[in-house]
């Protein structure tokens, strides 16, 4: 009788599970017919496997499903929120773009530009108003210097100084009054639009977080 090695026991265990090659299976079956001790070991292995396979299977004591919080998932952002955020940012940029030049224009009337002063008849730097009436003639001290007006000279005579239009300091309030009414409308409308968009984005975001937390607390 051939001595039984542990390799034989391994092969018998694999034979029991159908994990041997055809050649090995044939060899073992031949030996099993002629070696009762080998057959006894095979029977022991079969009984052990049979008992183990009949071990009572327990049901899980609870559900092991994962909540979003356990899984580390972050609250989802509704798709419309990024669009609202961008729209509010654009609205604020446009608001700043309109407000900035508007404020610059107001501050520049304190040192009025020459063009602006000439348009409203004021002196450069806001000097006193021009005197009314024709310019006074320069007195002649020597009669020999008196010119006899000739027709050509008459034609070359400077026209009478036209009376300067009544000039005065232009007040900032008048500028504001004369300013385009569209500026004021945009200055109010754009921040309002931006605030509404941001508010809508915040509300949607808060709602999604609230629902996410509710779902996380459900067991």
């Amino acid at each position: 009788m051939k001595k039984i090695s542990f390799r034989d026991v391994e092969n018998l265990s694999a034979y029991l599970d159908g994990q041997t090659s055809q050649a090995e299976r044939t060899r073992l079956e031949t030996r099993l017919k002629s070696e009762p001790e080998l057959a006894g070991i095979l029977e022991d292995l079969r009984e052990a496997r049979q008992i183990l396979r009949r071990t009572p299977k327990r049901r899980a004591p609870r559900n092991f499903t994962l909540t979003p919080r356990m899984a580390g998932l972050k609250p989802p952002i509704p798709r419309i929120v990024p669009a609202l955020s961008w729209a509010s940012a654009v609205a604020m940029l446009v608001f700043a773009g309109i407000l900035g030049p508007n404020l610059l224009g107001r501050f520049s009337f304190g040192a009025a530009s020459p063009m602006m002063s000439a348009a409203y008849g004021g002196g450069v730097g806001g000097g006193p108003p021009a005197a009314e009436g024709p310019y006074p003639e320069t007195p002649v001290s020597d009669s020999s210097m008196e010119l006899t007006p000739t027709p050509e000279l008459m034609m070359m005579t400077l026209p009478e100084a036209t009376a300067a239009p009544e000039s005065r300091m232009i007040q900032p309030e008048e500028t504001a009054a004369k300013a385009s009414p569209d500026f004021n409308t945009w200055l109010i409308l754009l921040p309002g639009v931006a605030a509404v968009l941001v508010g809508a984005a915040l509300v949607l975001r808060w709602n999604s977080i609230r629902q996410f937390r509710q779902k996380s607390n459900i067991k």
């Binding site: 694999a14 994990q19 052990a48 183990l52 009572p56 299977k57 609870r62 559900n63 979003p68 779902k215």
Partner: protein, 232 residues
């Protein structure tokens, strides 16, 4: 169960694909496992939870037989599913059950190492008389008669005792092969050892268990006789 998250659902406009705040396990259990795994790999938690429901019993039983403690087994099972969800993209095919059993085996090994560093005396629940409390009702097989339930409990205690006497590596292999029904390739995938090592460990474990159970068979003939009749 209905499937939500589709284009005809108004909430689809507001939330990313696959997520619905009211959805709980909305995927049909009959859905193909492969499809569920793919959905779960894309971050769909409901699809993953469908897989959890399918395999939680197998993972819990494996952990229970390795750790021999229900509370620790529950913790290890939960930890295993958490790890599985995080590492789901590392699953490249093959037996998904074996892949999951590997995660629970790792969780059990972590607990055993922890236990080795800080050995504790497990608190067995006791009655007022100081006797060990019976297993809770939900663990019992509702279809078995009272005598059969007693025999089942005795058999289970005997098997668990003999399993605990095995080295951890042997115990893991025999639990996967004989208790969970995995073939040798799946066990090798789960335990990450060569096929030859699986054969060797399984053979040794079965011989040792046979010797240990032989003693209990003499003490508990009813339980083992019942098993022999069932196995015939």
């Amino acid at each position: 169960m209905t499937v939500l998250g589709r284009e005809d659902d108004p909430a689809h406009f507001y939330f990313p694909r696959g997520f619905h705040p009211d959805a709980q396990f909305v995927y049909n259990i009959g859905m193909d496992e492969t499809a569920l795994i793919i959905e779960a790999q894309h971050g769909n938690l409901d699809a993953f939870n469908s897989l959890v429901l399918t395999y939680q019993d197998a993972l819990f039983n494996t952990a229970l037989r390795i750790l021999s403690d229900e509370d620790l087994a529950a913790d290890a099972t939960q930890e295993a599913f958490l790890s599985a969800f995080r590492a789901l993209n590392s699953y490249r095919g093959g037996s998904f059950k074996a892949w999951l059993l590997r995660t629970v085996t790792n969780a059990c090994y972590d607990e055993l190492r922890r236990r080795k560093r800080r050995p504790t005396t497990p608190l067995e629940p006791e009655t007022e008389e100081g006797e060990e409390m019976e297993s809770p009702r939900w663990l019992a097989d509702p279809s078995a008669s009272p005598e059969e339930q007693v025999d089942q409990a005795d058999l289970e205690h005997a098997i668990q005792h003999c399993l605990d006497a095995l080295p951890t590596d042997f115990k893991t292999v025999v639990v996967m092969a004989d208790l969970q029904g995995l073939d040798y390739d799946e066990v090798a995938q789960a335990v990450r050892v060569p096929l030859g090592t699986i054969k060797s460990r399984l053979a040794r474990a079965r011989l040792r268990l046979r010797e240990c159970l032989q003693g209990f068979a003499e003490l508990l003939p009813a339980a083992f006789r019942l098993e022999k009749e069932r196995g015939a």
